[in-house]
């Protein structure tokens, strides 16, 4: 789990939670923009990707584990996000 045992004033489990909530509110806010444009889609997927990285690294505690586990988890996240972007771009 969270491996940031050292006290970090700006990046700790509490600020991480706040960032995740803030990014969720940004996603929600963007849903009101009546634009099915590529830019909005890209921002939404990038935000989801960033949230995924935070969960994998800091909530699941994969920071510092062997490369294999990281490749599987970040690989899954990257492939899924990339496939969604490509599918939306060609639609």
């Amino acid at each position: 789990m969270w491996s940031g045992d050292k006290v970090n004033r700006f990046y700790n489990i509490h600020t991480l939670w706040m960032m995740l909530v803030l990014l969720t509110l940004i996603t929600y806010g963007l849903s009101f923009i009546d634009a099915n444009g590529t830019a909005i889609m890209l921002v939404l997927i990038i935000v989801a990707f960033a949230k995924g990285v935070m969960i994998i690294r800091d909530y699941m505690g994969l920071k510092g584990v062997s490369l294999l586990w990281k490749v599987i988890m970040y690989g899954w996240l990257s492939v899924v996000c990339l496939a969604i972007v490509v599918a939306y771009l060609v639609s």
């Binding site: 789990m1 969270w2 491996s3 489990i13 991480l16 939670w17 995740l20 909530v21 969720t24 509110l25 996603t27 929600y28 963007l30 849903s31 099915n36 909005i40 889609m41 939404l44 997927i45 935000v47 989801a48 949230k51 995924g52 969960i55 994998i56 800091d58 909530y59 699941m60 505690g61 994969l62 510092g64 584990v65 062997s66 490369l67 586990w69 599987i72 988890m73 899954w76 996240l77 492939v79 899924v80 996000c81 496939a83 969604i84 599918a87 939306y88 060609v90 639609s91």
Partner: protein, 188 residues
């Protein structure tokens, strides 16, 4: 400086289950995006009929539930079993609220005559969200068992393995929803 990587948190068997679950969800997500290519209008119109507010609220609830799980593990590592169990109960409360809100959302759709056979978008909507819904319920059951055992003092600072295993599963449920929320509710 220690060059050895730290072990993966929790039980290896649980991680194999997590990878299998992620693979299945990943295939569903990609299938949704591919099928949408030839049904853009249908998907966009149908998407506007689902409740973004409950989707956002549920995302915040799952993120908060995960936060409490991490706090519970922190507390257990300091041998604060009671405090740890309280964090787990807080997490269970957030997860239960998610289930309640999602159940209301499903009920609303069913009473409006919308179900899995309505159209292709709704087929994916129900398939993905119901599949995830059952994972949340399973995650809640696992957390509940661990919370009771923690409260009874079965775990301590040297025995965090079970809680880390339960936590890993819960975070997987959270991770899947993090992709599902924008994909199903927002991106057009």
């Amino acid at each position: 400086m220690n060059k050895h990587p730290k072990p993966i948190p929790g039980d290896l068997a649980m991680w194999i289950i997590i990878f299998a679950e992620l693979l299945v969800f990943g295939i569903f997500f990609i299938a949704y995006a591919i099928v949408r290519i030839n049904n853009v209008e249908l998907f966009n119109d149908s998407q506007l009929t689902i409740n973004r507010e409950t989707g956002a609220l549920n995302t915040i609830l799952l993120i908060t539930a995960s936060y409490f799980v991490v706090m519970a593990i922190h507390a257990l590592k300091k041998n604060l079993s009671k405090k740890s169990s309280h964090y787990l109960y807080a997490s269970i409360a957030c997860g239960s609220l998610f289930i309640l809100i999602k159940s209301i959302e499903f009920q609303d759709k069913f009473s409006a005559g919308i179900d899995i056979g309505t159209n292709t978008f709704y087929m994916f909507y129900f398939l993905l969200t119901l599949f995830h819904y059952f994972h949340v319920i399973l995650g809640l059951m696992i957390l509940f068992v661990v919370a009771i055992k923690t409260q009874k003092g079965h775990y301590n600072a040297e025995q965090t393995h079970a809680m880390e295993t339960a936590g890993s599963y819960w975070h997987m449920v959270d991770l899947v929803w993090i992709i599902m929320f924008p994909l199903i509710y927002v991106v057009r």
